[in-house]
């Protein structure tokens, strides 16, 4: 589904990614772990098409299409979703309004009829129940005055409504208490399906107790240093990132 080869990227004149290789197949869940500043978020932003990130080498294909040639909104409509690490507030713009516009943009691009307000409300209520969100959410502005946890829940809610083929979740677990973590994990797990894939970007093994990945990768210094199954995350938790970085030197 996603094939990244030798991807290098730079932000504000600084090289952050230095040749990342990663293949994600349909039905798989991958976790990308690594210390602060290793390039995890950069990778997520580059894949989503953030303009300030300059790709200097390598390629990325999404279902065989050249991902890097597509505009951010085209990537989204093709089924790529990014759960933001810091979801931005858009004052005065209703949450439901934004999400309905997003869903309809996607449906329109796929040649499907747009959903009307009633259908949409029924859909969003169902997903909100799963995410344990109160009705007051329907009338609020996008992330406006949301707590950190509410913002993350909102990201997952959007993902559930948009049903992406590939979801990249950038530290969706950070700032969540244990109850919220369970709710968010249940939301992500409900989307697991042989036709979809999920890439989790995280610092902590904790999330992976609830969403068990097929593969774990350690990103450090802009490169994937080590890959393995879910036991790798546990080993990292025990031995720390120095273990992997040290292994490279050795």
């Amino acid at each position: 589904m996603l094939k990244i080869t030798g991807l290098s990227a730079r932000v504000a004149g600084k090289d952050i990614l230095k040749g990342v290789d990663l293949t994600v197949r349909a039905g798989e869940v991958h976790a990308i772990m690594g210390p602060n500043g290793s390039g995890k978020s950069t990778l997520a932003q580059v894949l989503a098409g953030r303009e300030d990130y300059e790709v200097t080498a390598g390629s990325a294909t999404f279902e065989g299409r050249d991902l890097l040639a597509l505009a951010p909104e085209e990537r989204a409509r093709a089924g790529l979703f990014l759960g933001f690490q810091y979801p931005v507030e858009i004052p005065g713009v209703n949450n439901v309004y934004l999400l309905k516009a997003a869903l309809n943009a996607k449906r329109k691009a796929a040649g499907e009829p747009e959903v009307d307000a009633y259908e949409f409300l029924a859909l969003i209520r169902q997903k909100m129940k799963l995410m344990q969100m109160s009705d007051s959410f329907l009338t609020r502005g996008v992330n406006e005055g949301f707590s950190g946890g509410e913002k993350k829940r909102n990201e997952v809610l959007q993902m559930l409504v948009l049903e992406p083929k590939l979801a990249i979740l950038d530290e969706t677990d950070s700032g969540l208490d244990i109850d919220a973590l369970k709710v968010v994990s249940a939301g992500v797990n409900s989307l697991r399906d042989p036709k979809r894939a999920v890439v989790l970007v995280t610092h902590y093994q904790r999330l992976l107790d609830y969403i068990v990945p097929d593969q774990v990768h350690v990103l450090s210094g802009g490169r994937i240093l080590k890959s393995g199954d879910s036991s790798l995350a546990k080993e990292l938790e025990r031995r720390g990132y120095d273990w992997v970085q040290g292994a490279e030197v050795a």
Partner: protein, 482 residues
């Protein structure tokens, strides 16, 4: 991303949509201004002596005045002798008595602007007065309003039919010598709208005036006077457009509102004068004095404005809160794109006890534009218990534009409460990217973000016009963010 630059170009190529010129014979005075011109305007309108005297007094006072320079706007000096002070579509012998007699070209002009003047075609519940250059060409729904006792007519008709009301109220809120542009207007004003809502009457429909500048080298100097007698209420809306011309045109209007005991006036403006092209060539100079006086107890005046047009805007719709417990409100969205300059805001003058005012100003700057909020809250010693709340927010789109805020406060009563909140934000790359990542196009995303920013003001507009305002906003900002 490859398609993006093309999108931007396509968007930028979209031009001002009301910029056409109507080819119609007009009766104009040659450019120039002296006492003879003032007298000629008065004569053309068959005015009573008191009005001619009033005009001449204003003109003599204007000659002693200096054009103000304190506003944060820049423009070449205006040659007041190079402007024609009167232009009217040439009517066959007598003025039209009904819409059927109005020149079809004029009706077509308004239809093109989306303002069909034929009553049956008009949105139910909105009466329209249409002012073309210097004269009013049609006022709709006169009869229905007449039954309710409401007078809604052109200013010229009011001078002819209700001279006593004109003599009693004209210039009592904005005196002829109030400021340079108000004095000029007082000398040469040609037409405008007049509204009188008698005691205890709620005006049964929205009233609106549509102003259109057509002739070249002409100034538009309209005068609007609205009086709500005891317990009366009225909602009034004005809209404005002009053709695209390379030279700048002057628009110096005066609006006076009078609210007596328990009366309410809601005045909404959607201003879309031609803003000039993307290089700053041409456009309207919109130098306007608008003021309302809450003369009676428990009266209320509310200004709502959506300002998207004009090369330069200089306007401060204000409230003089004389009556006890009276309320003044100002809700504003001012957009400046390309090389537009806007210096706008309000004055809230608290005189009566327990008077209240609310100011909400939203400024949006894009391109190379300069957008200034200038507001005065003045609480006089007599205004015990007065309260003011001010919120002013600025939104910047792109790196070349600027926003300025000049709040002035003079509080001379210790029991007053004055609150001020201000913010400046950039239309976030983050907000934009967030929307794009959800599959929403850049254009829709910008519209969404800007509408969200303006929401509190839009909800003050009469519903039919809130939609128009929102559309106008998206047209004005097209291409502002790539």
């Amino acid at each position: 991303m490859s398609s993006k630059s093309q999108d931007v170009e396509a968007l930028l190529a979209q031009k001002y949509r009301h910029g056409f010129i109507t080819d119609i014979e007009s009766d104009s005075l040659p450019p120039g201004l002296d006492e003879d011109v003032v007298a000629a305007i008065s004569k053309k309108k068959h005015e009573p002596q008191f009005l001619l005297d009033w005009r001449l007094k204003a003109f003599r006072h204007w000659l002693t005045m200096q054009e103000p320079t304190w506003a944060h706007v820049h423009y070449k000096p205006i040659d007041y002798q190079d402007i024609s002070y009167y232009s009217a579509p040439r009517a066959p012998a007598n003025a039209p008595k009904s819409l059927d007699e109005v020149d079809p070209k004029l009706l077509a002009t308004y239809a093109k602007l989306g303002i069909p003047l034929h009553e049956r075609a008009r949105l139910a519940g909105v009466a329209v007065d249409a002012v073309f250059d210097s004269v009013s060409v049609a006022t709709t729904f006169k009869e229905k309003l007449g039954k309710a006792g409401v007078i809604f007519c052109s200013f010229s008709d009011a001078v002819r039919d209700h001279p006593e009301l004109i003599e009693r109220y004209l210039g009592t809120v904005v005196p002829p010598g109030d400021n340079f542009f108000a004095a000029l207007n007082s000398a040469v004003f040609s037409d405008g709208s007049f509204v009188y809502v008698p005691r205890g009457v709620r005006c049964p429909m929205e009233l609106s005036t549509y102003f259109r500048i057509n002739a070249a080298k002409t100034g538009q100097f309209e005068r609007t006077l609205i009086i709500a007698a005891e317990g009366a209420s009225v909602s009034y809306l004005e809209g404005c457009t002009a053709p695209m011309r390379d030279e700048n045109q002057l628009h110096a209007a005066v609006v006076e509102l009078v609210a007596l005991d328990d009366a309410q006036i809601k005045y909404s403006t959607v201003q879309n004068w031609y803003p000039g092209d993307e290089n700053g060539l041409g456009g309207i100079y919109n130098f306007v004095t608008k003021r309302g006086e809450c003369r009676g107890r428990n009266s209320k005046i509310s200004w709502t404005q959506v300002e998207t047009g004009s090369a330069i805007t200089w306007k401060y719709p204000s409230c003089v809160l004389k009556g006890e417990n009276s309320i003044g409100e100002f809700y504003s969205v001012a957009v400046a794109n390309n090389y537009q300059q806007a210096d706008t805001g309000t004055k809230m003058i608290h005189i009566g006890r327990n008077t209240k005012s609310t100011i909400v100003s939203k400024g949006i700057s894009a391109g190379h534009a300069e957008n200034t909020y200038r507001g005065l809250v003045k609480i006089l010693p007599s205004a015990a218990g007065a309260r003011n709340f001010t919120q002013c927010d600025s939104l910047l789109m792109g790196p070349e534009c600027a926003a300025h805020t000049f709040p002035y406060m003079e509080v001379k009563n210790p029991t007053a409460t004055v609150e001020h909140e201000a913010s400046t934000s950039k239309i976030g790359e983050d907000q934009l990217f967030y929307c794009l990542q959800r599959g929403i196009s850049a254009e829709d995303a910008v519209n969404m973000i800007v509408s969200g920013f303006c929401k509190v003001v839009f909800k003050e507009l009469p519903m039919e016009f809130a939609v128009e305002a929102q559309n106008l906003l998206s047209v004005s900002l097209e291409g502002a963010v790539g």
